[in-house]
């Protein structure tokens, strides 16, 4: 053939080349179909030759069939498609080779003859196929053949075609790789036996080699004097050194498999990287260049699994024990990863190693893994790798509890590794570092939850990483929130969390709005788990952590916030705070009080908006404590009374100088700030406190609270309606108080009466005064025995001090009860002042009389009548029958004055009220028990009036 004959072929190729860049999807499938069709055709002939047993024809047909794989126009996906098709067809060829070898010992001849094929791609596919058959036939040749195949595959530096070729190599040899058997793996002597066996075999081996390949072998080992050979990696030397040397170095059959697989992996990785660095044609635009680069990257990612197969193969070898992995496999892999310097390969391979090999191996090789991470390409996402590793370890630890020995060592390695990464990789984004620390924290919690110090250390690392740099991004904020939530969700116990010294520091790095979210979550966690925090120290830490909820700051939500969402958020926060403080308490009274003080201190700087909401629950908390102390004091008294000197576990209140009084003083203090802000509420709270202190029998304190309440009323209430309401509150509260000296009581009654009389609206005035009248005939509604006792005490004391004062004698009271309520309802009187009572009623009637509106007047008179009937029925002597008669006359008189338009004036409810009152008197007159009392009451006139 002369050279001229070739030209047309080249020009043909040229056309094909030019098409490549513009090949569209349609053209791709068309091309694939035609290549497949051609392969199918050759495959058909191949099968025929195989059936006829014609070896040389088969080689030729197989070679033709493989020609399609020479195409450079197919996309990797389509190439893979074709590859699968062709390699499937190649099975027939392998079948023939197997058959031929069974008949005649021609393995080496086949191995030689397939190499006559002039095209490299078909040649190497055939060589691999033949090589596999040769090994199958004669396992002694495994090493020789594998090395030769590796060497010959170097002839295809084309990335895609080379990758597939080597993948085929890996596929065809996968079942032929010598491996350690289970029994050998178990026994320690296995290795030594293996060596002996091999040495025995050696002479035979050499003999068998002294045939066809004699020359080739010698040349391979002797004559290659290429200097560069020496600079090959150690691994390579191991692979290529002569057999005797291998024996000395204990190169066992299974080591061949490992070395072979690693070598193939390294080469495939190189090819894979090459795809990225393919030079693009110079005549394309910048835009095209960018898009082709992107396309290349994507194509590369499609091919990654080809490279990964080798790792899978390695992990499937039984001979890759932990020791072998640690000593012989991982170091080489890591070296390769580090050296290749390609970001995609580095991240893919590192992640693949983590995924493919058992977690147990990782646990024992963590330092090695970490040693390369800092040196990887700057764009490699280290975070993903570490997180992946962490997730695997957590999973492993959860599934195999107790299987990890030195758990803390693992986290320490991680910690060290990460700090060296941060030192060396200045470009590591802060968000990644945060994610890594978060992962590490999860790992630490999983492995050794008791090591709070470590969690704390990591929190500190987070704080450090944030401290230096610029404003946090949204993602970073979310990551920090996640970091903060991790221990919270894990421990579900605020008592443990407050031990994390750096927790609040990390919260402080966040903007207020995010701090609020996490703080709220914090409190809600406590509420959900009902965790009681009982140490003052812990409480103050807790409040420090969540301080954003308590403290007033510039960017906190303003009072007049128009955004309804923000407003409702604010209230949600504050109400959560209110619920939360009830969790802060101790069995120990002194500690509880300390806690209250801490809370109060914190609240005090919360600004008016917060105080308004947060102080009341604090007051109630304190009241509860006061009650507790009261109970204790009582018990103590009991013990003392019984001369029982048993020392119980209770606090010695006197020793710590704590008493219910102190609590009330405390309450008084925190209330002061509230009066101006929230007069109405504080008024009610004062009343509440008065009631509580009254129960404790602290007269001066109760008096002070009452005075405060009245002061608030006087100073801050201007609205008439509110005034009316509140004065009613005050007087009704006052009526229930029992600790007062009658002087003090009557002083307060006077004040109530005074303020009632000052009410601006007449009906209010009337009704308030009527209410006040009850103060002067105060009843105790309690079981007789208790009430009796209390009052007796009181009277005895009071008798000594003020003998001239008007006091209801106990005997008298008792008499009343026995007289009035012989049934089960005992009633005791506490205070009685008939003169002022009547004064109140008269004043009420007078004020009502001045009213211009007849119907209202009528209504008020009936109300007053009812009140008088109440006093009359008690038979306390305060109101007599003639007073009632006078009042009845007055009512009739007022009615007759307005006889003309009576029907229009009197509304149905008022009429009913009037009628029912009348009916009541009528009934009392008939009743056996009240008959006598009601005899003087004259109702004839009214009856007549009704009959009209």
């Amino acid at each position: 053939m002369s050279r001229k004959d070739k030209t047309p072929k080249i020009s043909q190729k040229n056309q094909e080349q030019k098409k490549t860049p513009t090949t569209q999807v349609g053209e791709q499938t068309q091309l694939l179909d035609s290549l497949k069709a051609a392969a199918r055709r050759s495959g058909f002939y191949l099968q025929r030759s195989v059936q006829e047993g014609k070896l040389s024809d088969s080689i030729k047909q197989a070679g033709e069939m493989l020609n399609g794989l020479r195409s450079s126009s197919l996309s990797p996906k389509n190439y893979y498609d074709l590859y699968l098709f062709v390699s499937d067809e190649l099975r027939y060829f392998g079948l023939l080779l197997r058959e031929s070898i069974k008949k005649e010992p021609i393995a080496s001849i086949i191995y030689r003859d397939v190499q006559f094929t002039s095209r490299i791609i078909p040649r190497l596919y055939l060589l691999i196929t033949a090589g596999a058959v040769v090994i199958e036939n004669n396992p002694k040749k495994t090493r020789e053949i594998l090395l030769d195949l590796l060497e010959m595959c170097k002839g295809v530096p084309h990335p895609t075609r080379g990758l597939f070729l080597r993948h085929y190599l890996s596929q065809m040899t996968k079942d032929l790789l010598p491996d350690i058997s289970e029994s050998e793996k178990g026994s320690k002597n296995g290795n030594e036996k293996e060596i002996e066996k091999e040495i025995e075999k050696e002479p035979k081996n050499q003999k068998s080699n002294e045939n066809e390949n004699k020359n080739e072998k010698k040349n391979e080992n002797k004559n290659v004097k290429i200097k560069k050979e020496e600079s090959k990696t150690e691994n390579n030397k191991n692979l290529q050194g002569n057999e005797n040397e291998d024996k000395k170095n204990n190169v066992l059959p299974w080591m061949i498999s490992i070395n072979f697989t690693i070598q193939n992996l390294i080469e495939m990785n190189k090819l894979w990287i090459r795809i990225q660095h393919q030079k693009l044609p110079g005549n394309i635009s910048k835009l095209e260049r960018v898009s082709s680069r992107i396309k290349l990257t994507e194509e590369r990612k499609d091919l990654c699994s080809l490279v990964g197969t080798n790792l899978v193969r390695l992990s499937q070898l039984d001979s890759v024990t932990l020791e072998v992995y640690k000593e012989r496999v991982l170091p080489i892999l890591l070296e390769q990863i580090e050296q290749c310097g390609d970001k995609i390969a580095q991240s893919y391979l590192t992640e693949a190693i983590i995924l493919v090999f058992p977690d147990e191996y990782h646990i024992h090789t963590l330092p090695d893994l970490f040693s390369i991470l800092p040196n990887l390409h700057q764009e490699v996402n280290i975070k993903n790798i570490i997180i992946l590793l962490i997730e695997r370890l957590i999973n492993f630890a959860n599934n195999n509890p107790k299987s990890i020995e030195n758990t803390f060592l693992i986290t320490q390695i991680f910690s060290k590794g990460i700090s060296s990464i941060t030192r060396k990789r200045t470009s590591l984004p802060r968000i990644h570092l945060l994610s890594i620390l978060n992962g590490l924290m999860k790992l630490s919690l999983c492995l050794h939850p008791q090591r709070i110090d470590f969690i704390n250390h990591m929190l500190s690392s987070c704080v450090k990483s944030i401290a230096i740099q610029k404003k946090l991004t949204k993602d970073e904020i979310n990551e920090i929130l996640s970091i903060l939530s991790t221990p919270l969700d894990f421990y579900n116990d605020l008592n443990i969390l407050v031990q994390l010294e750096n927790y609040s520091m990390l919260i402080d790095t966040l903007p207020n709005e995010n701090r609020r979210i996490i703080s709220l979550k914090f409190l809600e966690n406590g509420l959900n788990t009902l965790t009681i925090v009982s140490s003052p120290k812990k409480v103050s830490k807790l409040l420090e952590i969540t301080k954003v909820l308590f403290l007033d700051s510039k960017d906190s939500i303003s009072e007049n916030e128009e955004d309804e969402n923000l407003k409702s958020l604010f209230f949600r926060e504050q109400y959560t705070v209110c619920r939360f403080i009830h969790l802060l308490r101790s069995e120990n009274i002194a500690k509880s009080f300390k806690i209250l003080q801490i809370i109060a201190d914190t609240f005090s700087s919360g600004g008016t908006r917060r105080i308004k909401i947060t102080i009341p629950p604090l007051v109630f908390s304190a009241l509860q404590l006061a009650n507790g102390i009261r109970q204790l004091e009582k018990e103590k008294k009991k013990i003392l009374n019984n001369n029982n000197k048993e020392n119980k576990d209770h606090d010695n209140l006197e020793d710590i100088g704590l008493s219910a009084k102190k609590i009330f003083e405390f309450i008084h203090k925190i209330m002061t700030s509230l009066t101006k802000l929230l007069p109405l509420k504080s008024l009610k709270l004062f009343l509440q406190c008065a009631l509580a202190s009254d129960k404790c029998n602290f007269e001066p304190i109760a008096y002070e609270f009452m005075t405060k309440a009245i002061l608030v009323y006087n100073d801050h209430l201007k609205d008439p309606k509110t005034q009316y309401q509140m004065i009613n509150y005050i007087s009704s509260t006052l009526q229930t108080l029992r600790a007062f000296h009658p002087d003090n009581y009557s002083l307060l009654c006077n004040q109530c009466g005074g303020y009632s009389a000052k009410l601006n609206i007449a009906p209010h005035q009337v009704r308030a005064i009527v209410t006040c009248s009850y103060l002067f005939l105060s009843i105790i509604k309690q079981p007789l025995n208790i009430a009796y006792k209390e009052i007796k005490e009181k009277i005895e004391i009071q008798d000594e001090k003020n003998k001239n004062k008007k006091i209801v004698k106990v005997e008298k009271v008792k008499k009343i009860i026995e007289y009035k309520r012989p049934s089960n309802e005992p009633v005791l009187l506490y205070f009685i002042d008939v003169k002022r009572l009547l004064g109140c009623i008269s004043r009420a009637i007078r004020v009502a009389g001045s009213l211009m509106e007849p119907s209202l007047l009528f209504e008020l008179l009936i109300e007053i009548l009812n009140t008088c009937l109440y006093f009359f029925e008690l038979d306390s002597g305060a109101v007599n029958s003639s007073f009632i008669n006078t009042l009845l006359d007055l009512i009739l008189q007022k009615k007759s004055e307005n006889e003309s338009n009576w029907k229009q004036l009197l509304t149905k409810p008022i009429y009913n009220f009037y009628y029912l009152t009348f009916k009541h008197i009528k009934l009392c007159k008939k009743n056996k028990e009240t008959k006598r009392l009601f005899k003087p009451i004259k109702i004839e006139k009214i009856l007549k009036d009704f009959l009209k």
Partner: protein
């Protein structure tokens, strides 16, 4: 070359004896396309055989001499009528008489020195044959040839140094081609490696070509004509794709896959046959880079009697 011009009534059969263990080679003879197996002899062999002349239909053939010749000659295809006989030996087996029926003769050329190997080239053939000549007085001479093939086993060269070729192209390319040896026997394997030190050119493939160069000289007339015939007898791809710095591409080529002769440096001052290995690099723009080096071929064995015949892939390329 003698041909039967008219209807022959005689038949000459030449056969070799003592050929039971002799190997054969399939060849075409002359311009005929028929493939015939030829026995292979080497220098120093005895060439023995028998000649049978049959006269048909009880006719008579009168002759002056019958002789048997052993001839080695070189024929130039463009000058067929003028072969150069470089060796000849003639034996007279019958003198003056009439042939009838079947007549047997034998020949035995003892220890013939046959320096040159048989060769069938593009422009030149080197043939060995035994010729039977029936010389008649008046009419044309009858003759019949029987070819045989000569192959000589040679001793391996004492020195066989490796070939090392460095190829550089400014600062764009620096490669190093190493072949383990420079002389090869005909079933040898060319082994070597191509080291890429610097590659800034995007190559697409690399291949080997084996080129046979046949140079013939004709002395006819006043001017001496020299014809050079280059024949690419094999193309062999050894690399697919673009190598990068540090790549080492292996070379392994089995010479036995080709039909080769030893290198003939100078045969009778008429022709020479030499072989060259051409390393061809093709870049992405189809630009080709060549590097040629001579391969000295020698014969170390005669062809094996039994081979698995693998047809050359090259034939499918054609």
């Amino acid at each position: 070359m003698s041909m039967f011009s008219s209807k022959p009534f005689h038949q000459i059969e030449i056969s070799f004896t003592n050929v039971e263990n002799r190997q054969t080679i399939n060849q075409t003879i002359g311009e005929s396309k028929e493939i015939t197996p030829l026995f292979i002899y080497s220098s120093g062999d005895n060439i023995t055989g028998e000649v049978k002349i049959k006269i048909k239909n009880s006719k008579k053939l009168e002759y002056r001499n019958i002789s048997i010749a052993f001839i080695g000659q070189i024929e130039l295809t463009y000058d067929p009528g003028n072969p150069t006989i470089f060796i000849t030996e003639k034996v007279l087996v019958a003198k003056g008489g009439i042939l009838t029926g079947s007549n047997d003769y034998s020949f035995n050329f003892q220890r013939k020195r046959m320096r040159y190997e048989s060769y069938k080239g593009t422009n030149v053939n080197l043939r060995y044959f035994v010729r039977v000549i029936i010389d008649r007085n008046i009419s044309t001479t009858y003759s019949q040839d029987k070819d045989f093939w000569v192959m000589n086993v040679m001793k391996p060269p004492l020195e066989n140094p490796p070939i090392n070729i460095k190829v550089g192209l400014k600062s764009d390319l620096n490669i190093d081609i190493t072949l383990e040896q420079s002389q090869f026997h005909l079933t040898d394997v060319i082994k070597g490696i191509v080291n890429y030190y610097i590659v800034k050119i995007q190559f697409k493939s690399m291949g080997l070509s084996i080129i046979k160069r046949e140079i013939t000289k004709s002395n006819s007339g006043m001017n001496q004509n020299i014809f050079t015939e280059n024949e690419t007898i094999a193309k062999f791809e050894i690399m697919d794709g673009a190598p990068v710095q540090g790549d080492k591409i292996p070379i392994r080529f089995f010479l036995r896959s080709l039909n080769l002769t030893p290198t003939f440096p100078q045969i009778n001052n008429i022709f020479s046959v030499r072989y060259f290995l051409n390393l061809v690099l093709v870049d992405k723009k189809e630009k080709r880079y060549f590097r040629e080096t001579e391969l000295v071929l020698y014969r170390n064995t005669l062809p094996e009697k039994k081979t698995i015949l693998i047809k050359k892939e090259l034939s499918s390329d054609k």
